[in-house]
Symmetry: C2
Subunit: 160 residues, 2 copies
Amino acid sequence: MNTQDFKNAMAYLASAVSVVTTQGPLGRFGLTASAVCSVTDSPPSLLVCINQSSNSHAQFIQNQVLAVNVLPADNEVISNAFASKLSVEERFAMAEWDQLKTGAPILKKALVSFDCTVDHVQPVGSLDIFICKIVAIRQNTPSNALVYFDRRYHHIGSET
Amino acid sequence: MNTQDFKNAMAYLASAVSVVTTQGPLGRFGLTASAVCSVTDSPPSLLVCINQSSNSHAQFIQNQVLAVNVLPADNEVISNAFASKLSVEERFAMAEWDQLKTGAPILKKALVSFDCTVDHVQPVGSLDIFICKIVAIRQNTPSNALVYFDRRYHHIGSET
């Protein structure tokens, strides 16, 4: 199996789209992630996969805190910005932010945000799985969700 | 944060729906999973979260192979069956199966199936993260996907 076969197949695993952020001595950082999973409610945990080659990987490792901000529908612009070559300042200037317990940036208009401390980092080849303890949650008014599938964005919600 | 807060918030993290199967000396087993993530293409890897309290958890640990069968739209019945109290025989009788390299059951009508060997099992509280190496892939004709969001099934595809 080559890399292209892998990518073609994974394009058919639909996923939510999140902006994962962190805050620490070096400032704030954030990237778009589709590999986010609920893990368990005892203790409340989730996981995020972050490439070791990502620009902000070192900051996530160093800060040991992160927030997962799940994007509502109609936020393709935010998703694209946090997956682009834009600077950190340019990315964060595109939306309004808040914070909960850890200080990691909480997207005000997120569908739901999970504020987390990093509990364990499990390397797998070129990637790290960040296993995180959820220390605070902010849930906004329910709205449609942004989903990535078949290399395109989709909106799902009460009307679909 | 209590368990209900966690569950309410996680309901807003949309996910694909997969039937995860295994095959070994004790026979075949399978369950419905929404916590499946692409991990990395070097080496081709994915992860699946399985509760330690799941009936078939021991078989997944023992067999060290599994297949992730991503469900196409209109397969709520299969999803529900593999999350129900139906026996193993009753579950598998509801669809047609095949196999690739490991022998784990491959759902013939899956959107895409990933045949895997288990590389590492990472416990997190009451749950195990199965980090798996993908050894074979079967991709069927592209069709709509089944997605779970806001405690309901949704269909997404080329028309949404």
